[in-house]
């Protein structure tokens, strides 16, 4: 390995610290902006009902063996009969989320707002970091690392001879982007801290189609074999009591 690089203290004062401070400030700012823009939307009764229905049907499937066969069959019929079962979605009514989005401008608006509050500051800061701070070796980790960490820590410097424990400025930006959650939860309160990774997950969760999950729930309910667990309990109770009487 090459001899140790000496990092200029000016880099610390003008790259490392400003970058972290800016990231924190942007996080706080974004929190308040998104709080301002958040529209208090009233959930649709039908969607709430479908969600609850799925929970109930899932409970039925999971705990089917705890109720008498007759009750189970009655419930299954209630959910699954072809005419007016709760889990049956009439064919014409099943609308896909895309069409729903076009019919409801509010939904598209919400999406936009969410996107705006997330993507715009991110691209801006990334561009800013790239413009001002590209190519700096900003910090050094006090322990050696293997080569695999190179892409994580030395994003933006294409030198394979530099020791892996040096962190480039762009990587420092990424580390801050994903690692400041703990700090935000301190500043903004426990439940307000939301880092970008989580937001991205939420985004991908969009496009959830309730009618599809209703259908899936119906199919799995159809194939449940009811095996009443209670008769076994008598023997177990006997064993318990015997143990107790001893």
């Amino acid at each position: 390995m090459a001899a140790d690089l000496v990092l200029d203290t000016a880099i610390r004062d003008w790259v490392l610290i400003p970058l972290s401070v800016v990231m924190v400030l942007i996080g706080v700012l974004r929190y308040f902006v998104s709080k301002l823009m958040r529209s208090n939307q009233v959930p649709d009764a039908k969607i709430v009902k479908e969600g609850q229905l799925i929970i109930r049907a899932r409970n039925l499937r999971a705990a089917a063996n705890f109720i008498p066969p007759k009750s189970f069959r009655a419930r299954r019929l209630y959910y699954n009969n072809e005419e007016n079962g709760l889990l049956i979605v009439p064919k014409g009514q099943a609308q896909n989320p895309q069409a729903q989005m076009f019919s409801d401008p509010n939904m598209a608006m919400d999406m936009m707002k969410k996107n705006l509050s997330m993507i715009i500051p991110q691209t801006l800061t990334f561009a800013w970091v790239n413009f001002f701070f590209s190519g700096f070796v900003a910090a050094k980790i006090p322990f050696p690392l293997t080569q695999r960490f190179r892409s994580m820590l030395q994003n933006g410097i294409d030198l394979s001879t530099v020791d892996v424990s040096y962190v480039s400025s762009r990587s420092w930006y990424f580390l801050n982007l994903f690692g400041l959650r703990g700090l935000f939860s301190l500043i903004l309160g426990e439940e307000n801290a939301m880092d970008d990774t989580q937001k991205m997950m939420q985004m991908s969760g969009f496009g959830f189609d309730p009618s599809k999950s209703l259908g899936a729930e119906k199919d799995s309910l159809d194939i449940v074999q009811h095996d009443w667990a209670l008769p076994k309990f008598e023997h177990r109770a006997e064993a318990v009591l015997r143990e107790l009487a001893r």
Partner: protein, 310 residues
């Protein structure tokens, strides 16, 4: 449901606060988190914090949460003046808030001005028809007025949308039991068992309802559920032990099973349940000996009379 560890923690904190050991705020937080009903204590300790300027300002914005908690507790204890003061302060701090509006409506309800409270609640519902708390308040109000059928109607409407809310199912089941509508109650208890299959209390209540309904099939099912309660509680539930005794020794059960004795399988099952009954009886006797020896004679005569009558 409050889990065992949480309950012990709560009791420990309560003890500590009762004996002047401090930690009142932690106690109040825990009460709020577990949603348990300790209104008198909440009122007492919450007020002592609110009246102490230094402690109150130490809470920061949590102060308002405490005001809300104390207001609700005060309404529960019929200290309406305290509730009124709390709500007035909250109103001053949040002039537009719906949450405070809800508290105001609850105050009306606590005063007994049903019509006005109803009007306030329905106006809230018009704005947001999916507000669970307000739906529940309306049911509670109907129940408080003695309008049981109204309460049932409200609960049914609520459960049509929020059908996974087991607390509402339990409330409905209890109302049905109080009206002796056992079939409906049995349905509700089945629903409860489905959503929380390991809670023995639901099994027990279901068994009670089935036993009350009567008929051979129901009795047999009830016996199974009593057995499951015994299993789930490790034989510690006195009511279930009695249930088994009553159930197996019920004249109806004996009679009909005597008819069915021709079938061999039935016969075997009968023997088994008799064994279960005698085991339950010994467990009961043991339990009584340990915890209430002076009532042991009562128990043995009761058990004997059951046997004789069968």
């Amino acid at each position: 449901m409050v889990s065992k560890t949480e309950e012990t923690q709560l009791n420990r904190l309560e003890n500590q606060v009762d004996n002047g050991g401090g930690g009142a705020w932690e106690y109040l937080c825990l009460v709020r988190k577990l949603k348990v009903r300790r209104s008198e204590k909440v009122l007492k300790y919450g007020l002592s914090i609110l009246n102490d300027l230094k402690k109150r300002s130490g809470l920061g914005s949590e102060e308002w949460t405490l005001y809300e908690q104390v207001a609700i507790a005060a309404m529960d204890c019929q200290s309406l003046d305290v509730a009124k003061d709390c709500i007035r302060l909250l109103r001053k701090a949040f002039p537009e808030s719906k949450r405070v509006g809800r508290l105001e409506a609850m105050l009306l309800e606590a005063k007994g001005s049903w019509a006005e409270a109803e009007k306030a609640y329905s106006s809230f519902l018009e704005e947001n028809p999916l507000d669970q708390v307000i739906h529940k308040r309306r049911v509670a109000m109907a129940k408080a007025q003695g309008n049981i059928s109204g309460a049932i109607e409200g609960l049914n409407k609520y459960l049509e949308i929020f059908m996974a809310d087991h607390d509402a199912w339990r409330e409905l089941a209890e109302i049905y039991v109080s009206l002796q509508m056992y079939k409906q109650a049995a349905f509700c208890y089945e629903e409860l068992i489905l959503s929380q299959p390991t809670v023995p209390l639901h099994h027990l209540a279901y068994a009670d309802v089935l036993y009350t309904l009567g008929g051979l099939e129901n009795l047999q099912t009830a016996k199974k559920y009593y057995a499951s309660v015994i299993d789930l509680t490790g034989g510690k539930n006195t009511r279930a032990l009695f249930g088994i005794n009553l159930n197996v020794l019920t004249p109806a059960f004996q009679c009909t099973s005597a008819i069915g004795q021709l079938a061999k399988g039935r016969n075997k099952e009968d023997k088994e349940s008799l064994e279960l009954q005698s085991l339950a009886a010994t467990a009961l006797e043991k339990d009584y000996k340990q915890r209430a020896p002076e009532k042991l004679s009562l128990l043995s005569t009761a058990l004997k009379s059951l046997k004789v009558s069968s």
